[in-house]
Amino acid sequence: MAFNGLKKAVTLSPCVRTLPSGVPAAPLLNLAARAPADPHDHGHGVAGPRSDSTPRWVGGVSRTASGLASKSYVTLSPTTPLSARFLHTSVAVKDAPQVPDFSHYRANDNDSNRAFSYFMVGTFGLVSASVAKSTVTEFLKTMSASADVLALAKVEIELASIPEGKNVIVKWRGKPVFVRHRTQSEVDEARETKWESLRDPESDEQRVKKPEWLVMLGICTHLGCVPIGESGDFGGWFCPCHGSHYDISGRVRKGPAPLNLEIPAYEFNDAEGKLVIG
């Protein structure tokens, strides 16, 4: 029981009761009490009657300064003397609302904290940018030609197997490629032509890497036929489909073709005497 005695101070005694009618009543509280008129109320004025105050018709206990004045009930009094119920819902009132302590969030030194924050944010952006760049480049790499296509994309030709003044046609990426070993007279002829007045003006020097080797795609620039070698009015190629004439440098000289025969990418492997197309 000593334990109960200690507990006494903690448990608040009930101050509000519910009448058997169900109406809450607080006979010892003056529910009609109002705050005194306050010059600081900023024009809000006096509030209306409280909605939770007991209406007068319910009756109850009325007190005067001299003591109990009257005690009346409109409803039946409790059937048993023990059946009154008290409500106890009041919340403990605190002097000030509890605000959590955030002081540990504060930095000790504003300057270094600012620099550190910027540094971390900047590092975050830096690493993100680097990762994004790698991601994008790796993705773009998947769009380039795959290794097996690249492996087939080059054709090697033994130059020694082509005698002077002969044409060789090789297949490269499904297209014919003309390789001509030109004689010196053919080279002279190609160089002396007045190329400035041609339909697609190109000098022979622009079209070959070595004067004796002419390498070009064997596809007529008109509608894609394959021209015939060593024929035509200019000693070069002749397209049988619509009669385009190409000279010994593969430049269009006559007929409907709009452009000279195309030059593929190629290079010479002098060490092994090979021509690499692609």
Partner: protein, 328 residues
Amino acid sequence: MLARQLSKGPALSALRRKNPLSIPRAFAVRNASTASSSSAFESFLNSRLTLASVSLFTAGSVAWYTHLYGSLPFLGQVHASHASEEGLHPPDYPWPHAGLIDTFDHASIRRGYQVYREVCAACHSLDRIAWRNFVGVSHTVDEARAMAEEVEYQDGPDDQGEMFMRPGKIADYLPGPYPNEEAARAGNAGALPPDLSLIVKARHGGANYVYALITGYVDPPAGVEVREGMNYNPFFPGGAIGMARVLFDGLVEYEDGTPATTSQMAKDVVTFLHWAAEPEHDDRKKNGIKAVILFSTLTLLSLYVKRFKWTPIKNRKILYDPPVDKKH
């Protein structure tokens, strides 16, 4: 609870003890107290976190058991087949490339190619590997070109529409031992030697299984009969395999002088086949270690930045500061 709230002191308690019925009316009321009788244990039992973790633990234990023993716990199972028909489980071998950032041992790949070329290639094809794939992995360009030129490939058609034979280029794929599947079956008593390009990926146990298989030939145990032309291998599902043991000590002569024991050749050829199945293996691991470093750095940084951005929001205090009335 009731008693405790009612007890106003030792005097009242004494009164109550004397005669419970004589309690004054004022104290004999029932308190509708909303103070919860929370005990830490009860809230622990009722919390969602507990529920979720217990469910997760249960599901996890069942999954682990199933993973370990291959069947659900507490459920009896009857198998139509004996466990030996699924083959022995291969042991874990300490491959040089087993670690998270370990590359293939490329010298081993080179030796393994030699074993494949001299032993396996008699029956097994390697369709998906071209000569150019060896360049920069186990052979130089010149070696790959020389190896390709030893093989004749059909090409064409030429100007006359005829197919012709030409020496191989490095873009050509490795030739198979048989022209087609029927020829392969006919040459091996009806059993088709599988293509080895992806064999390490295509078998349970991967490299461990292939190694265990080619080194695991033993005499059949008592009671096991193997048909004529078949061989007993406990690692092969069913136990009877068409392929006979092929690797014996000293079968090949390595150019780098490594002693060609059976296990050495098996290890090399399995490394080679593993490379053939996963040529991207080394790059994959290199990119993997980079990605792990970068993304964990990004995670830590983003956690910091989140905290940095939320700090002013979290410790914001809203105060009402009423305006001052100028009249006073």
